[in-house]
């Protein structure tokens, strides 16, 4: 009993650590001052300013749309890539492909941004939403591969053999056995890609044009003038929204989940049995 409590304390500690800066940010969105130092008394003025700022709202909408689309496509391509890598037998080829995969992760954003800019202008691809989308997909793919690949490697060969023995075709094996098994990896990949897209500033700056702007670019560009608390208010709104979405989604899922989990366990049991 004592141990149970102690371990929970650790988790609580980690959560508090993760959320302290965010609560700090949001707290200042209610400060009467102009900057994040010395709390000056309560006000909602920064929120009023935010909701009146159409340009800012448009930037937020564009940013979210971009992040959703790019991480969705990156997840699909990355998952396919991970499947392809896991089918590779020769370690040399595998390591080479994996290293190539990681190049965009190790290269600082300015290098990626500058080379993509040269690349797009050389191919006469107009700068704007399209070029930004392509770039975001490009730099999100490696993290998806990194998240999905371990799940594929864990998957027991016996499961695949069993499925084949039961007469499944490749595509059936994929749809019924492989994909359900690696789903947690795919979801992690999607969330990480989403994070990468939201946070990117340097690459987006170089490849954007035609009035398409993301939130990160706007925030970094404002640093020279000092970031106003309107941005804090915006982060507060987005954060609370995301929080409600996550919690709501989770509890809606909860209901059908228990049913599905049971179903999944059953089918897995069948496969296991057949394997022995």
């Amino acid at each position: 009993m004592k141990k149970w409590k102690w371990t929970n304390l650790y988790l609580i500690f980690v959560f508090v650590m993760l959320y302290v800066p965010i609560i700090y940010l949001i707290a200042y969105s209610f400060s009467e001052g102009e900057r994040m130092s010395g709390f000056h008394g309560f006000t909602l003025a920064h929120y009023a300013e935010l909701f009146a700022d159409t340009r800012m709202i448009q930037i937020v909408v564009d940013t979210l749309m971009l992040a959703l689309l790019s991480s969705l496509i990156a997840t699909i391509v990355g998952t396919l890539g991970a499947l392809a890598i896991s089918r590779t037998v020769r370690p040399l080829v595998k390591n080479t492909v994996l290293s190539l995969n990681n190049i965009l992760m190790v290269s600082p954003d300015v290098i990626i941004g500058a080379s993509f800019l040269i690349f797009f202008t050389a191919l006469k691809i107009p700068l704007g939403f399209g070029s930004v989308l392509m770039s975001h997909i490009a730099f999100s793919i490696p993290i998806v591969v990194l998240m999905v690949l371990p799940k594929l490697q864990e998957m027991q060969q016996s499961m695949l053999d069993a499925a084949r023995d039961l007469g499944s075709t490749n595509s059936q094996t994929l749809a019924r056995v492989v994909l359900p098994f690696i789903t947690p990896g795919i979801l992690s990949g999607f969330f990480m890609a989403f994070t990468y897209s939201l946070d990117d500033f340097a690459v987006t700056f170089f490849v954007t044009g035609n009035g398409f702007q993301t939130l990160a670019v706007e925030i970094y560009a404002r640093a020279r003038q000092g970031i106003s608390l309107e941005i804090n208010a915006l982060s507060g709104v987005m954060f609370i929204f995301a929080l409600l979405l996550v919690i709501g989604y989770y509890f809606i899922q909860q209901g059908s989940q228990s049913r599905k989990a049971k179903h999944r366990k059953e089918s897995e049991a069948i496969i296991h049995e057949a394997a022995h």
């Binding site: 396919l80 370690p91 290293s99 040269i118 371990p150």
Partner: protein, 273 residues
């Protein structure tokens, strides 16, 4: 080995296309640029500069050392967290809540840390309650590694959690039943079985940490200069793209070496079951 060629092709093509267009093409461009000096003349001088001046060698050592520290701290914090999460109620919800902070802009979070760690900030005010004089927290290795780890923790917890999820409770119980101590069960059963998740987490943290640049300035006060800082400077201040690319090439080569050293070997083939 019967393969449905049509479906296999569908797997390989998009990913291969991505590698060719967005990885190999830019890398060729970077390598090409690394052979030009600031006036646009062909030269091998950039590489000579890199390997001859102690400054860049020291930067490289700094980068690797701090990336290692950040990865280590992140791992030490994340592994138990992921492990405990595995046994928690509503674990998927908690997991999502761990990702959520990463959606707030990095610069804003760094500014929040400046506020929290400054002489007048939250931590020092708290210490003041116990009569402890304000401490210099910012611009120390501690604050830099702390904030960098803070940023990276979700990227480490997630893959480890996924690794632990597949851990078959049966093995753990069996090991305990056979009279193994908890530490033995951990090193011989749990850790090896969750290794692939740990590996993914380490890669997801270590590789980007090598080229960290913004936090070194914001929180570290440019006390530590890493390769990322130098590249940033060469691209955006000096506009010496040649030298910046040279450092980029070195980073990529270093990453390749690390990947091959830690990568899969031949003996560990497909046969595990």
């Amino acid at each position: 080995m019967k393969k449905n060629t049509a479906t296999s092709l569908a797997f390989y093509v998009p990913y291969a296309l991505w590698i060719v267009l967005f990885v190999i093409a830019p890398v060729i461009l970077i390598i090409y640029q690394s052979f030009f000096d600031i006036d646009g003349q062909f030269t091998l001088g950039n590489y000579a500069t890199y390997f001859q001046s102690g400054t860049y060698i020291m930067m490289t050592i700094n980068s690797v050392w701090y990336a290692f520290l950040i990865t280590l701290v992140t791992l030490v914090i994340s592994y138990p967290a992921a492990y405990l999460l595995h046994y928690a109620k509503h674990k998927e919800l908690w997991l999502l809540l761990i990702i959520l902070p990463t959606w707030i802009n990095l610069l804003l979070k760094a500014y929040a840390f400046i506020g929290i760690f400054s002489q007048d900030g939250g931590v020092n005010n708290f210490l003041g309650l116990f009569g402890i004089a304000p401490k210099q927290i910012l611009f120390t290795d501690f604050s830099f590694i702390f904030v960098a780890s803070y940023i990276e923790i979700p990227f480490m917890i997630l893959p480890i959690f996924n690794g632990i999820e597949e851990l078959d409770e049966g093995y753990v119980n069996a090991s305990r039943d056979l009279g193994a101590k908890w530490s033995q069960t951990f090193t011989h059963v749990i850790l090896p079985l969750t290794m692939s998740g740990v590996k993914a987490g380490v890669q997801a943290v270590f590789i980007p940490s090598l080229s960290l640049f913004m936090l070194t300035r914001l929180i570290g006060g440019n006390r530590v200069i890493t390769l990322g800082t130098a590249i940033e400077e060469h691209f955006l201040t000096t506009m010496n793209w040649g030298m910046g690319s040279t450092i980029g090439v070195v980073l990529i080569v270093a990453m390749f070496i690390i990947m091959f050293l830690t990568g899969e070997r031949r003996k560990k083939g497909a046969k595990r079951a």
